[in-house]
């Protein structure tokens, strides 16, 4: 039962991480772009998300968003009922939150790519998207990996909060088992050891990935 919960936790975590990376790239692009409207939208996004607790955001999305949409649509004369699946609501919210952290990581990584590289890409006639795909992105990964690793580590721990909206992930299954067997300490300790296992495996993979991303770079 805990094992099934663990699988669901990892699944939610991976889906959320994909969303976070997507939003992070988008957010970093927005923060670095010229039009000030796009820039201020991205700035508002990152500072709002970092100032409000995750739990509150999860409650807001899961319980608040459907009602908000219904209210707005009834004002416009439509009526439809939104029913969010806890899995989808969970990974969308977590992804949305950690997208703000990933934005900062990608922004830093983009700024770490030497300007000359980008200028020479333009000089040999690459357009912006080709330069981004061939020159900037491969080098950004190298600078972004340590930060992304941290985001993942915090993200996977934040998935425990989704148990609040009744998704049967690791934490909720541990609670159910603890209640049924009257051995809360045993089950929560087991769950915490599983989270610790995820953390240890993640650290190992992160080290490998960093070695891979740094291939071709001389170690000092």
């Amino acid at each position: 039962m805990l094992w099934q919960g663990l699988e669901l936790t990892v699944a939610v975590g991976l889906c959320a991480m994909l969303i976070a990376i997507g939003l992070g790239l988008l957010g970093a692009w927005a923060k670095l772009s010229q039009p000030s409207i796009i820039k201020s939208i991205a700035n508002t996004y990152t500072s709002l998300i970092r100032g409000v607790p995750e739990l509150l955001l999860i409650l807001l999305v899961y319980y608040g968003a459907p009602t908000l949409i219904q209210d707005l649509s009834s004002n416009l004369g439509y009526s439809f009922i939104v029913d969010l699946n806890p899995f989808v609501a969970g990974f969308l919210t977590i992804g949305f939150i950690y997208g703000a952290f990933a934005t900062e990581v990608f922004r830093g990584a983009y700024l770490a790519v030497p300007r000359g590289q980008i200028e020479s890409a333009h000089a040999i006639g690459m357009n912006s998207s080709t330069a981004f795909r061939r020159i900037i992105l491969p080098q950004m990964w190298r600078f972004a990996l340590p930060g992304l690793g941290n985001v993942w580590m915090v993200l996977i721990k934040a998935t425990a909060l989704i148990s609040v909206i009744q998704l049967d992930e690791l934490m909720r299954n541990a609670s159910i088992a603890a209640g049924a067997t009257r051995q809360p300490f045993t089950f929560f300790l087991a769950a915490s050891v599983m989270y610790l296992g995820i953390t240890i495996i993640s650290i190992t993979i992160q080290r490998k990935a960093e070695v891979w991303a740094n291939r071709g770079i001389r170690n000092v």
Binding site: L48, R50, G51, V52, P53, E54, L55, L56, L57, L59, L60, Y63, G64, A65, T67, L68, K157, A158, T159, A160, L161, S163, V164, M171, A174, S175, A178, R182, Q183, P184, F185, T186, F188, L189, A191, S192, Y195, L196, T199, I200
Partner: protein, 240 residues
């Protein structure tokens, strides 16, 4: 949009915010007091000191706070008889005590790791110079290492304080009526989810900005000797 519900429940939300601040403040103070010796022990040469402290830090940083909270609050129930016999059950029965205990242990682990980083980044030369002056280890830490380590750690520590402030929202799950807890109760009774959650979010944001402002001021004060001396002001308004 009808906003009277927010206005009506504002006193209760602010009451919840007060509990949030109280739990945050208490955990931060005790956590910091624990973190200083832990950071020094974490850097010890003796493995029987270093390894237990490292394991403690690794456990608390590697597992979700929610699990830690449940482990203390619900998990202690499994040892009720034992705790009752040594007279500690009185404390573990209280959600408030469990919340502060868990948050303190959690923030102590994170803070110790931040302090360890800043202690390690102090230039060796300064430590050697202090030793050459004949300072004992205690004096060395008190006069040279810790003051500089605190200053270096301040930006990261501010982040930790903000994370802890937001982490206190989890205590609403173990029945405490902090800001999130109050919002959840009013939502459950009024069926007005988004207005109240947004109102609570705004209060959290305000508290976060106050913390950031205080941190900026503290940083400004602590780095007075590192700033360029302001050039004597010769703007015309000074010649009256």
């Amino acid at each position: 949009m009808d906003l009277t519900i927010i206005w009506e429940s504002l006193p209760r939300l602010l009451g919840g915010a007060l509990l949030t601040l109280e739990i945050t403040g208490l955990s931060i103070l005790i956590g910091l007091a624990l973190a200083v010796p832990l950071a020094i022990m974490r850097l010890s040469d003796k493995s029987y000191i270093r390894i237990p402290v490292y394991s403690y830090i690794f456990y608390f940083r590697g597992t979700p706070l929610l699990v830690q909270l449940f482990l203390v609050y619900y998990g202690s129930g499994q040892f009720q008889e034992f705790l009752d016999r040594v007279g500690l059950w009185l404390f573990f029965r209280e959600a408030y005590f469990c919340a502060v205990l868990t948050l303190t242990l959690n923030t102590a682990a994170y803070t110790a790791e931040i302090l360890r980083g800043s202690i390690q980044s102090i230039p060796r030369g300064e430590v050697e110079a202090a030793r050459a002056h004949g300072m004992s280890s205690v004096l060395l830490y008190r006069r040279i290492v810790l003051p500089k380590a605190f200053r270096l750690a301040l930006p990261a520590y501010t982040n930790e304080v903000i994370f802890l402030l937001q982490a206190t929202s989890l205590v609403s799950i173990i029945t405490l009526l902090d800001l999130t807890g109050v919002a959840r109760i009013i939502v459950a009774r009024s069926f007005e989810p988004y207005k109240l959650y947004i109102a609570a979010g705004v209060i959290y944001l305000l508290i976060t900005y106050v913390i950031l402002y205080i941190s900026k001021r503290v940083e400004h004060r602590l780095s007075a000797h590192l700033r360029k001396r302001s050039s004597p002001n010769v703007s015309p308004s000074n010649f009256r």
